[in-house]
């Protein structure tokens, strides 16, 4: 009886780990997709109404679901504080918050950081260029994130349980 319970726990635990890893692939691809939508929304705020950044980011956050919200809310809050902190730093802090939930690859992170450096500190035209560039780059990494998901998600979903069973067989 004890053995059965132990075996189930091992299989369950390994399976759960596998599912978590699979979920991360899903989450990354999803976040990168939503991020592009978010940048489109930000583009509208900047190009049509020239809304100041704190308000613009907050409005964008209001229209988003998913983890991206956190980045925009955090950045909006820090910029809105009005203590002379550059918008790029606020964006970076927001990105750190998001990165805790969604482990970005080095490339994805550098795209978002680079976008943040240009945030707010130039005229409208340059702002729009900066957004457009980030969107193109994000589309690229999203494609590879989707590929990785297709390849790895199913695998990890099964692999966790399989590994658990192998361990159980070895222990028996």
């Amino acid at each position: 009886m004890v053995k059965v319970i132990g075996a189930l726990m091992i299989v369950g635990g390994c399976g759960y780990c596998g599912l978590r890893i699979a979920a991360v692939y899903e989450r990354r691809a999803e976040t990168l997709r939503i991020m592009q939508n978010a940048l489109t929304l930000l583009e509208t705020e900047i190009s049509y109404t020239a809304t100041p950044l704190a308000q613009a980011l907050e409005r964008v956050a209001g229209k988003l679901n998913g983890d991206c919200r956190l980045l925009f809310l955090k950045a909006a809050e820090l910029i809105g504080a009005g203590d002379g902190r550059p918008a790029s730093e606020a964006w970076e802090a927001g990105l750190e918050t998001l990165n805790k939930l969604v482990p970005f690859s080095a490339e994805e992170k550098s795209i978002l950081l680079l976008f943040g450096r240009g945030l707010g500190n130039s005229l409208k035209e340059e702002q729009l260029k900066n957004i457009a560039l980030a969107k193109v780059q994000l589309r690229g990494v999203e494609r590879s994130a989707v590929e990785a998901r297709e390849k790895n998600k199913k695998m990890w979903q099964y692999m966790g349980f399989c590994m658990g069973m192998v361990v159980v067989l070895l222990l028996l």
């Binding site: 809304t51 100041p52 950044l53 809105g80 002379g84 550059p86 918008a87 130039s122 005229l123």
Partner: protein
Amino acid sequence: MVRVIVNGAKSGSGARQEKPLSADMAVVNQTAIRQAAAGWLAALPPTLRRMVSESLGQRIGELEEIRLRIERPLLLRLAQTELTIDRENRLCGELSRGYVITQADLEQTLEVLSRGSLYAWEDEFKNGYLTVPGGHRVGFAGRGVLEKGVIRTIREIAGFNYRIGHEIPGCADRLLPYLLKGREVYHTLIVSPPQCGKTTLLRDLVRQISDGEKQLGFAGANVGLVDERSELAGVYHGRPQFKIGLRTDVLDACPKAQGIMMLIRSMSPQVVATDEIGRPEDVEAILAAQSSGVSVITTLHGRDVDEIWDRPYLQDLGKLRIFQRIVVLSRRKGAGTIEAVYDGKTLAVLNKG
């Protein structure tokens, strides 16, 4: 020349208090001063905000200008004196001992002023100044970026000038009776050197004319205010930051001449007010306003009535004697001292301050 001297101290005019304008300006209580200061304080970066607020203490209401220039001491102008802030955070007249503004200070200032969003103030950067909450104005200088020979924006900003707008309700009390004739308002020109309270006085005149003044039996009139430099009404996000009266329409950031014509066509004002005329088209617009029966109140840089009509473009106004009242200001007894009120036609002195 007839000199009718109505000196305040000798012959009061009934119920209205007769004291020098400068004294009126000083009698504003401390909490109101602090409240008014909150707007421009919030537009300074935190370090400078603390320095300025702590070192000035009670004297915060006297502040007229803050100058931030790269690698030079911070300067505060209070009335006629220029002070800086030393290492111990005290006001100090010896400018070489003052706090020296760094590049980082200026960058922070720009972040705070633009609220991290330069793109949102493109037009303001083209013009070289921003209006901040409370209606104060911050000008800046730096390297111009040109596009087709026109300034597109200012980069590498090397200096800021905070001009603190003062709102002194009642500072036009003593002047108003001279500018009214029954239900009519005279065409009025306020002549003054810089920093003598021209804008503050005009703002209060506009407010009183717009609201009406019961004691004078004046019911109030529709006023159109053309605020080319966003100083009079201090419009921020569409809302005037100063009290400008309940019958006042503001055209913010519009060129004066176009603005005057537009207001006459669209808002049917009885009085049009604007600041600092000087271009030929301004003169044309004033003549047009006069011929359509609209009173004009405006201001002009200058020291006395004798010199003003020699300016280019202004001869016509002088020859035609458009203005029925000319008010001359100085700083003799503090900002806003009324030197004299003249009858524009005869140049008789109606009041000598």
